[in-house]
Amino acid sequence: MALKINNERYETKRFECWPIMKELRKKHFWHTWSVQSEGGQLILGMGLANLPLLLGIGDIANPSIGLHFTRLARTPNAEGLTHAVEEAEAWGLGRDVCGAMKAHVGQLLQGLSTESPLGKKVQHDFAFDCVGCHAITKSTQIAAEYIGVPLLMIDIPRKFNENSRKYLLAQWQDAIEWLEKKTGKEYDDERLIEGLMNEMHCEAMWAKCVDLLKNIPAPASMRDMYSLRLPLVQFRHIKETVDYVNTLYDELKDRVKNKISAQGIERLRLTHENLHPLYRADLLRSPEEYGAIFITGNPLEAFGMWEYTEDGSRVPSRTPEEKGIQIRSREDALNAIIDRMAIRVEDGEFSTRDRYYKRAKEYNTDAVVIHYDRPCQQVMLNALESKLLLQEKGIPVGVYYSSQGDPRDFDEKRILGERGELPTFYESLGLTKQADSASP
């Protein structure tokens, strides 16, 4: 069935929130290097979905693997990143394991992870991770051992029931004791509660922002949102991010009301599933020259909090204020963390095969692009099954083969060349290159 091309033109304009996001990002970046001198803790690891727990010991910064990833990725041909990955392989990691985590280990072995941009050596205070993906968990273990810092690891069950709630609660309580012992600081429940409320607010508001992308025209593209999301990644527990995401939501709502679009035209709307190659964010703009647009995908939804209505529809979560949630004690806070986790686990992004399909329907998209991320076993869980389901339902699907963290897996010609995987797919949908479709 031929897809209906929408040739309507829409107004577009720059985001007023953009400078706020950049300012927050810059502040966070420098905070990483100054946190210790200001009495806070520098934390290694990828436990970024549960950072509020750490706030009880004071100010924190958690650059996770991102210390130099972006800088290395921006060297010509992402050469710096390739060197990091190869360093890890020389140490003994295989060619076929997670590229992003290999880059993390490579940076560590190169000494980059313990060096600030000003050339000063830094020593993390401890490592924190929640068991999820094997590559991430084992990399954090390696990193903690290599740097010589204690490791706090929380086991997250894959199924939620009363037993797993009890298990998590007991682990969180132990973790607080561990934090007090390792840092010598008294745990401050007020800070935990404040950080958690901020984070819950941000996650709910981010989901509301992403939900607005369902509108035609979309008020932002996936590429816009990918950048606008940055404060939500590692510092959604601070008040400035709460203010930022509220402002972003208002701006997006205003754009919807006034039909301000992301790029002036959306001949076809597409979803992009799985993280794009992180060193090639421009790939998310590849439909633009065809007048098409990537609207959303699992990487955007991951930073929001969602809930289900009685009829099974998935909708943005209400904010704690809207729900009337009162968190008064440590136990309330820990239970709220567990509730959030239960929703995430039960949401089953990777445990079911229908999320790609549902997203395509919910966001009014015409076709789906899937990044077959070679070494990422976690995001590839059920990816092929999801593709089959989309095809069964008659939704066109295109795939391209690469890796989020290893630039050697990105074949420019094969993916973006004239007869590459993506241009060929766009053309198969009935799209042609447009002379005047570039976004501002």
Partner: protein, 376 residues
């Protein structure tokens, strides 16, 4: 040895063996995808648990569901058997692994080879955590409840006690067989041991135990010449490549012990019976030697491997793991360094459906020569 012929028949004709059992007993058969499972509970419910294994034939049938550039060949090979209908006699499938490859196999099995019962048991990843035992005991209780609902009959304490006894007996007997490899001249080869161990994953342990007893009787009577091989330990995840082990031994390796989850590690830890039977079953899983994934946050696996190598006087360790196994690969450098610090050299081989035996030969022979030169 006559009994080895029967062992070989069981491994070679595993599906017929399971089907014969089903016909003979009228019971149900479940396939499982990992060893972190209280198999005794399934057995106590009157169900025969069999480990799903591949056939080592190149295949493309799984390509639409599991991607050959990301999913490990072991699990793809397992799914291929299901898709080809070779496990059509299964009544249920159980997974207790967090490994995304095993989970994909489990999910795809459910989509394309539906069975009347399927269950994912949650096993903690941080096994040495203070609350791991109570959590796992609770999950084992849920699993028991689920089995009871499906069979429509309660699982009695007597049945669990009997299952523990039968399974512990297998573990004890296998240990005794393994002892025959400790001497200067091992009485059985690594390939034979692997075949014996695999047979136990594929049949009723009640019928398996007498075979092990016969072997214990037969092995000391056989005449084994000193082949002068180099004593090697194997380590890694699942490995059922008997032919590859035979080839390695023909090159001069003497496989004296292994830590593969489909082989030696499966039998290493017994259930310590207690009043709380479900906790006793959970405790075995908690206390058994760690896999690469679950060796968190403090490492115990490298010490376990060293102890095993020392106990069996292995001169070197060959790590054999599946392509695309993140957990094994991220664990390998630390294990390698630890063993080498203790003067035990290592070699790493990535295994697949079929293996490039001549490429491996170059590497294995060089490794063995290096070990021999150290001994000289």
């Amino acid at each position: 040895m006559e009994t080895m012929k029967e062992i070989n028949r069981i491994v070679t004709h595993r599906h017929e063996v399971a089907k014969e059992w089903k016909t003979k007993t009228g019971g149900k058969v479940f396939g499982y995808l990992t060893i972190d499972l209280p198999e005794e509970l399934i057995y106590a419910a009157g169900i025969l648990p069999v480990r799903i294994l591949g056939s080592h034939e190149p295949e493309v049938i799984t390509d639409p569901y599991m991607w050959n550039e990301v999913h490990c060949v072991f699990e793809r090979d397992c799914l291929a058997q299901g898709l080809q209908g070779r496990y059509s006699y299964l009544d249920g499938i159980v997974n207790a692994s967090r490994d995304p490859h095993a989970r994909q196999c489990y999910f795809s099995w459910g989509y394309h080879c539906p069975v009347s019962y399927s269950y994912e048991l949650q096993v903690p990843a941080v096994l040495n955590g203070r609350h791991a035992l109570s959590y796992l005991s609770g999950e084992v209780a849920d699993f028991k409840h689920s089995l009871e609902e499906w069979t429509g009959a309660p699982i009695s304490n007597d049945a669990i006690d009997h299952a523990i006894e039968v399974y512990n007996k297998s573990r004890g007997l296998i240990k005794r067989i393994s002892e025959f490899r400790k001497g200067d001249i091992p009485q059985i080869s690594g390939a034979e041991f692997m075949e014996i161990a695999l047979a136990g994953l594929l049949m009723d342990k009640k019928e398996y135990n007498p075979l092990l007893e016969q072997l214990i009787d037969e092995i000391p009577k056989r005449v084994v010449n000193d082949a002068g091989g180099t004593r090697i330990m194997l380590a890694g995840g699942p490995n059922d490549h008997i032919d590859l082990i035979e080839s390695m031994e023909s090159m001069g390796a003497q496989i004296v012990v292994d830590d593969h989850c489909t082989c030696g590690r499966y039998y290493m830890t017994e259930v310590v019976p207690g009043d709380d039977r479900l906790e006793a079953l959970a405790a075995r899983i908690i206390n058994k030697p760690r896999s690469s994934l679950r060796d968190l946050p403090e490492r115990t696996r490298h010490k376990h491997l060293l102890d095993l190598a020392m106990e069996y006087r292995a001169q070197g360790v060959i790590f054999m793991f599946q392509e695309h196994s993140d957990a094994e690969q991220f664990d390998f450098p630390q294990c390698r360094d630890y063993l080498e610090e203790h003067n035990i050299p290592t070699l790493q081989l990535e295994i697949s459906f079929t293996n490039p035996i001549e490429q491996f030969r170059t590497r294995i022979e060089a490794f063995l020569e290096m070990l021999q030169a150290r001994e000289a």
